[in-house]
Amino acid sequence: MFKDEIASLQCNPMFKEIDSAKLKLIALTSTRTSYTAGDVIVSQGSPSESVYFVLEGTASVVRQEEHEQILIAELAKGAIFGEIGALLNRSYSSMMVAKTDVCVLALEKQIFFDLLNKVPQFSMALMRIMAKRVLDLGSRYVEAQIK
């Protein structure tokens, strides 16, 4: 089980450079939880308490705007969710819903900060993930402008 979790985390290319001992530390300090398709994993607006890593299945990130639900992203094996809320000390800005049966690792916010402080490889991986997201957003913005 533990080994599968490490393998799932390694599916995220950003985590590939992290030593397996450090990935084990992330796994060991997290709680593994299973959800069935349709379960709300995280509610929009709820206090940011944990950061999530998808181990199995697919989860959708959805934002509720007035009466409309906007799909922001789909998270597959190795993806991370909730890190922005944790870093900014804000509530979750969108919800995370299990699209299929999903298994996640939930890392408490405080432990997430501890790991950022103690595992430089983890901080770097997170920065890369966020940099990539900024880049993607930029591209999407340009595409939207062109359209």
Partner: protein
């Protein structure tokens, strides 16, 4: 603090010093007699000088008081007894023995009294120092390194206390003893007396001079040791930073340099110390040479008899120790005086604020008295301006926001308002109460300050919150305690200048919290914890707590009823699968292996997780079921994982402490065991002790938590068999060490949650814990047990500095502590920074509601969070730049760049000297 050590000692122990000195004087005739008796034994008993020529008996113990003729002439007290030579020898030897015993008793009494005296002084000194630390201004005590302060109070004063008992008594005792011995020698022979006196004088004059440098080195050592203690404390605190930046080598080099300095000082000290010792020994050995040579010559010449020579040598044998000790005393005196002065110099009067110890009733300022701030300015110790002069009147009650960037004038002003900084210029007052001089007693009646750093101490949540009520010094008046032990304790405290009140007395100012009796206090604590957002946390902690059958019999009696209700509700909502029941016939994957083996809770140490596998009875069961090897294999996997994951973390790391199944101290042993198994290639080649150690580790294994996939169905079946055997064959003398789970009765060693569910919440099931706890809460509320259970959460131990709590929980407890005494002014200076923005807003709204019709001052960094305050004071860099009123009347002290001006379109004005809110 008295700067002169001797005056400090004398002023605080005069009476006891005089009593001991009296006893010393009383002891001297006995000491003199003990020197004289050997001479009598040789001359009178052995050489027969007491016997008249031809007489076989001599008079012994004849005693006549030599009164003058005017008073009737000599008065015979005793005619004595006629004894033959042998009996005279026995009698004189007997007297010598009695004198030895009496002198020993005197020494014992003097030493004990001296010891007590010294301990009392030490207790007083430590108390005075603690008191001085408490009297340091808040901004100065923040600069004190905790390790240095601890080193001063614990270690550095120790020799001072030890010396206190000797300060006056030892020189008096030894001086009189030495003088007695010298006089005795002089009486025997003037020449020998002169020799003895010369040696004494050489020792007394030369050696202290040689020791002067030793003293300087001692002082250097003290300063360097203190620095080292402070640095070690810093190193421990900043260890994570050292690891992150890989500055370990630099830190080691720096530590090595400090240790080198200490080493050099100590080496020179040793050289000097032993040089002095050499001289002392030389003088001590040379003197007998003179005694034997000159005394022997005089004896041969006939001007000194053998008895006199023997007595003089015996007396001289007693002379060097007191002289040596006197010299040592002088050395200690100089040493300790320097240390004492060093300690006193840490507390210059201008850094101390006066303590208001009066017990008279305080006349509080009127509720409507404004906070008058006039020309308030703050500069730091280097003269850098922290806050430029500001004058403003803050109406009370009002809710005020201090807007500005963190770390600037905003925070300085907040700290001054919260009395965390008293070294300011200008004036800040409410009515006649001046902020800087009003003292803690007055301040605590109207003001509370919640800073960014929640300062908690070891103890329960309850104790940390009610700290703000522990100020009612009303126990002295009602102290009619007749308990002798308690009275003795108080008398001793009084003699040491300590507070005679005991921490167990009634300290709580319940009135301040708005309650009249202790029973109602918990309700109030839960109420303030709800305000600070900790209600849910306390509820959860309560569920993990235990109920004491002695204290809570009624609550325990209702648990089965609550359990039935909870299980029924879980079933009705289809949530039964979220709880795995405790079933004697089933393995519970949400319980540890130890819990599964015992199917109960240990009540003492004998069957605790760490002792379970090594207990002879349990081991016999494990061996019978062939479980030892598989358990050792699980332990090995756990050890390998823990070593792999935690080996790099620094000592004391919270992640290590929270998640490692192996303690920091045990880690090296397990590293060794894992190495042995790797080297030998097989677990079966490990010694039995090694296997037991690994099996012991396996006992804490929880499959759903550790997820190493080590518990197979086969192992489960074997553990269930072992469980049944263990219970069936349990020896009678183990009965009190375990409480087996039973659906029929309350398991007092298990948590409230375990008892309420009689099962475990499934780890890893989606939202299992919140869903189940919600059901539990509903049932407890329905049954009216909710409040009683929550109370138990107040007993949760927060750990050193509150480290068992999360940062927001610590902040919540600290804020609750501020709210409890219902202050009329509350300063919140970054206290909500641990919470998420939404949580912080909710908490602030509740706090503001609580502070309705009172004053609250809150630091804010976002203008949009300041919109509904009665007034907003804006700060930039070191200045207050603007004041905005809710009613729109703004005053601006800076013409541009103010966010509030933009936000509220406030009026622009030239620099204004005064503002009114």
């Amino acid at each position: 603090m008295e700067p002169n050590l001797f005056r400090f000692i004398w002023n605080n122990s005069k009476r006891q010093q005089l009593i001991v000195l009296g006893i010393i004087v009383l002891s001297l005739p006995f000491y003199f007699a003990s020197l004289d008796i050997p001479k009598q034994i040789i001359n009178d008993a052995l050489q027969g000088k007491a016997f008249a020529p031809g007489a076989t008996e001599a008079r012994f113990f004849a005693f006549t008081l030599p009164l003058p003729m005017a008073l009737g002439g000599p008065l015979v007290i005793s005619n004595g007894y006629m004894l033959n030579q042998l009996n005279l020898l026995w009698a004189l030897s007997g007297i010598f023995l009695v004198l030895v015993i009496i002198n020993g008793a005197f020494k014992y009494t003097i030493n004990v009294m001296k010891g007590i005296l010294g301990e009392r002084l030490l207790r007083r000194l430590r108390y005075v120092l603690l008191e001085l630390y408490l009297r340091l201004r808040p901004e100065d005590i923040r600069a004190v390194k905790p390790a240095e302060a601890a080193s001063i109070v614990k270690d550095e004063v120790d020799p001072v206390g030890g010396f206190a008992g000797d300060a006056f008594i030892l020189p008096a005792f030894l001086g009189m003893q030495a003088l007695t011995a010298v006089i005795f020698i002089v009486v025997q022979s003037l020449l020998l007396g002169f020799v003895a006196l010369s040696v004494v004088l050489i020792q007394a004059i030369i050696i202290p001079r040689l020791r002067k440098r030793q003293l300087e080195l001692t002082l250097q050592r003290q300063v360097e040791s203190r620095k080292l203690a402070g640095r070690v404390g810093e190193l421990v605190e900043t260890a994570p930073v050292i690891h992150i930046h890989e500055t370990g080598s630099y830190v080691r080099a720096e530590a090595g340099s400090r240790l080198g300095t200490l080493f050099d000082i100590r080496v020179e000290l040793f050289r000097r110390k032993f040089a002095v010792k050499y001289l002392n020994n030389l003088l001590a050995q040379i003197t007998p040479f003179f005694f034997y040579a000159i005394g022997g010559y005089l004896a041969l010449e006939g001007s000194l008899n053998i008895g006199q020579l023997f007595a003089a040598i015996a007396a001289y044998k007693d002379l060097p120790p007191p002289i040596k000790e006197l010299i040592d005393w002088d050395q200690t005196r100089a040493d300790v005086t320097i240390k004492y002065q060093q300690i006193v110099s840490q507390f210059p009067e201008d850094l101390l604020h006066e303590e208001d110890t009066a017990t008279t009733r305080l006349q509080l300022p009127e509720a409507g008295d404004s906070l008058q701030i006039s020309s308030l300015k703050a500069i730091d110790s280097r003269g850098v301006t922290l806050l430029e002069p500001m004058t403003v009147t803050l109406r009370r009650p009002s809710h005020i926001a201090l807007l500005g960037a963190s770390g600037g004038a905003r925070d300085v002003f907040a700290r001054i308002l919260g009395r965390q900084m008293l070294s300011y210029q200008g004036s800040l007052a409410v009515g006649s109460w001046q902020w800087s001089t009003m003292g803690d007693r007055k301040a605590a009646r109207i003001l509370a300050y919640a800073g960014a750093e929640p300062l908690l101490s070891s103890g329960t949540i309850r104790n940390n919150i009610i700290l703000s009520l522990r100020r009612a010094k009303n126990s002295t008046e009602k102290n009619d305690n007749t308990d002798k032990a308690e009275q003795k304790k108080r008398l001793e405290a009084e003699m040491s200048g300590n507070m005679i009140l005991s921490p167990g007395d009634d300290w709580l100012d319940l009135k301040a919290a708005g309650v009249s009796e202790l029973d109602a206090l918990d309700e109030e604590l839960l109420r303030v914890l709800h305000i600070t957002g900790l209600a849910e946390d306390v509820y959860q902690l309560a569920l993990l707590g235990r109920l004491d059958p002695q204290k809570e019999p009624e609550l325990i009696a209702r648990i089965p009823e609550a359990r039935d209700s909870i299980l029924a509700k879980l079933e009705s909502r289809g949530l039964t699968k979220l709880v795995e029941p405790l079933d004697a016939a089933r393995f519970n994957r949400h319980a540890t292996l130890a819990e599964n083996l015992l199917f109960g809770k240990c009540t003492g140490n004998r069957l605790s997780e760490s002792n379970l596998s090594s207990d002879p009875y349990v081991r016999s069961i494990l061996e019978a079921e062939a479980l030892l090897h598989p358990l050792a294999a699980i332990g090995l996997s756990m050890a390998e994982t823990a070593i792999d994951v935690f080996a790099d973390l620094p000592p004391g790391d919270p992640l290590f402490e929270r998640f490692s199944s192996i303690s920091e101290e045990a880690m090296p042993d397990f590293i060794k065991l894992v190495e042995i198994v790797r080297t030998r290639g097989n677990l079966s080649k490990l010694s039995n002790d090694g296997k037991l150690r690994l099996a012991e580790l396996a006992m804490s294994y929880l499959e759903s938590r550790h997820r190493l996939g080590l518990v197979t169905p086969h192992l489960e079946r074997r553990i269930l068999r072992a469980r049944a055997s263990l219970r069936q064959h349990l020896p009678q003398n183990y009965a009190s060490d375990i409480e087996f789970y039973s659906h029929e009765r309350y398991t007092s060693s298990a948590s409230i949650q375990d008892n309420l569910l009689f099962g475990r919440i499934a780890f890893g099931a989606a939202h299992a814990a919140p869903k189940v706890r919600e059901v539990m809460r509903e049932c407890l509320v329905e049954l009216g047990l909710d409040r009683d259970i929550r109370r138990i959460g107040l007993d949760f131990e927060v750990g050193p500095s509150g480290k068992f709590l999360r940062s927001e929980q610590r902040a919540g407890v600290a804020l609750a502590r501020c709210l409890l005494p219902r202050p009329s002014i509350l300063v919140i200076d970054g206290a909500l920074s641990s919470f998420s923005t939404a949580e912080a807003s909710e908490i602030l709204a509740r706090v503001r509601h609580e502070m309705h019709e009172k004053s609250i001052i809150v630091t804010q960094s976002q203008p949009e969070r300041c919109t509904d305050f009665d007034a907003v004071l804006s700060f930039e860099n070191t200045r207050m730049t603007n004041i905005h009123f809710l009613d729109g009347k703004d005053t601006v002290t800076k013409k541009s760049g103010n966010t509030l001006n933009q936000l509220h379109g406030s009026r622009s004005a030239a620099d204004m000297p005064k503002h009114g809110v």
